[in-house]
Symmetry: C2
């Protein structure tokens, strides 16, 4: 398929690569930051840098809007689309109905709309295997939906038809599972760093924690630690130390300890 991108962030970077690896042609890349568009295009085989949002002459069958949620409306206000193109966004939160509505307000020509949400945490510099990458696909039009599913399946074995409500909840869950988890690891890293202790010490523990959660399919079963045991002597000592160290970490420790305890008492 012929595919163009609006946006040059982490998502555009990885999706463009994944699509090209799967044999699709990335026709154009547009970014507010032309320098970034140029960088992205330079990693691809035969991709033009689109200087503005006028895609009326584009050969693309699919245009992917891979920008932050806030910027989607601005893009739709300005973009000029070729009739009949499939326009998709890559957001976890934006509903198809809302997107469709904005497209109808701003576009002069008829286009198809859909969602192509990759559930992953992307960093440009970190290569990844796309075979297991979950794609969540949605379109009101079954033919279009099938085409998007086909595109997804050319990259990954984990393609899911999913409506906007489900996708939204998946996104909330992903924030807990990935963003908040990563921040907990950041705190643990920084705690050790203050004392010149190596983060390597924690790695086997972190790996086992994740391994157990995956294996059981229910992380609640593997919960351990002082909060779980109700070992208030230990949590008290930890809090004493944290209070002298970092206010934010103290607040997080206190809240998490309370909530873990609540959770297992109410079980």
């Amino acid at each position: 398929m012929k595919i163009s991108f609006i946006g040059s962030g982490n998502v555009a970077w990885h999706l463009a690569q994944a699509f090209e690896d799967a044999g699709h042609w990335i026709c154009e890349v547009y970014s507010r930051d032309t320098q970034k568009a140029r960088q992205l295009a330079s990693t691809l085989y035969d991709t033009n840098i689109q200087p503005d949002l006028n895609f009326s002459d584009s050969e693309a069958e699919i245009i992917v809007i891979a920008v932050s949620d806030d910027a989607i409306e601005t893009v739709l206000e300005r973009v000029v689309l070729p009739e009949g193109v499939i326009l998709v966004h890559t957001s976890g939160t934006k509903s198809l109905a809302e997107f469709q509505n904005l497209v109808e307000i701003y576009s002069d020509v008829y286009v198809h709309t859909g969602v192509f949400y990759p559930l992953q945490t992307f960093t440009k510099e970190v290569e990844m295997d796309y075979k297991e990458l979950p794609f969540c696909i949605e379109s009101k039009n079954e033919l279009i939906e099938n085409k998007l599913i086909q595109l997804g399946q050319s990259v990954s074995d984990n393609v899911n038809r999913m409506d906007s409500d489900e996708r939204f909840i998946l996104h909330v869950a992903a924030v807990f599972a990935s963003n908040f988890t990563n921040y907990m690891l950041t705190i643990s890293h920084d705690l050790l760093d203050r004392e010149q202790l190596s983060f390597d010490l924690l790695k086997p523990l972190i790996q086992t924690t994740i391994y157990k959660a995956m294996l059981s399919n229910d992380p609640a079963l593997g919960q351990t630690g002082p909060a779980r045991r109700g070992d208030w002597k230990t949590t008290g000592r930890h809090l004493e130390y944290l209070q002298e160290t970092n206010e934010d970490w103290t607040e997080i420790y206190r809240l998490m300890t309370d909530k873990i305890r609540n959770f297992y008492i109410s079980k």
Copy 2:
């Protein structure tokens, strides 16, 4: 070496197994709950169930106290030890000085003391490879410390000499890295479960999150998500949904979002 255990929880279960696998003899197991001592002993090759805390006739060179921090003092009050034995605890939080002090108060005979802290989240039912398991070892007596290090190295390639202050901080960091992380996964699981969505959808995301944190050696570099981007439209929508769903999850989402934002603003 000849080793006995006081306690029959997750730590005793795994350490006894690891020591036996490495060729040591587990002489006795004592537990307040005799049924549990019997269960543990039944998984070992030639281990007696010790009916009470009188170890005066024990052949053990090392006695491992693997009970919760709160119970350590109670054990020391009651235990009768053979002269010259090496008595170790397995706690992250209890300092050697404090332990030594209690031993001196309660024991009629001279014994050596030390710490043998395995930094891991243990669940009886989940087997694990002990080769990378970090042991944190401490003793005031260098000969005893070397003996404990030798014992650790018979099981694992990751044996560290570590003082009580360092071990304490490592334990605090471990609570963030493992216990709190696991609870974040629990929330994400339960969010999906409410909507009959499979936890499998999140697994590639979780694995990449952890993989990136390990690879970079600094999880802060891989932080993504709406809080990191300052995408308040998205966090607002997430909070709206969470408020209607679960109060505890709402509080955690709000606090984590604030703290992640603070962290990256102050950078």
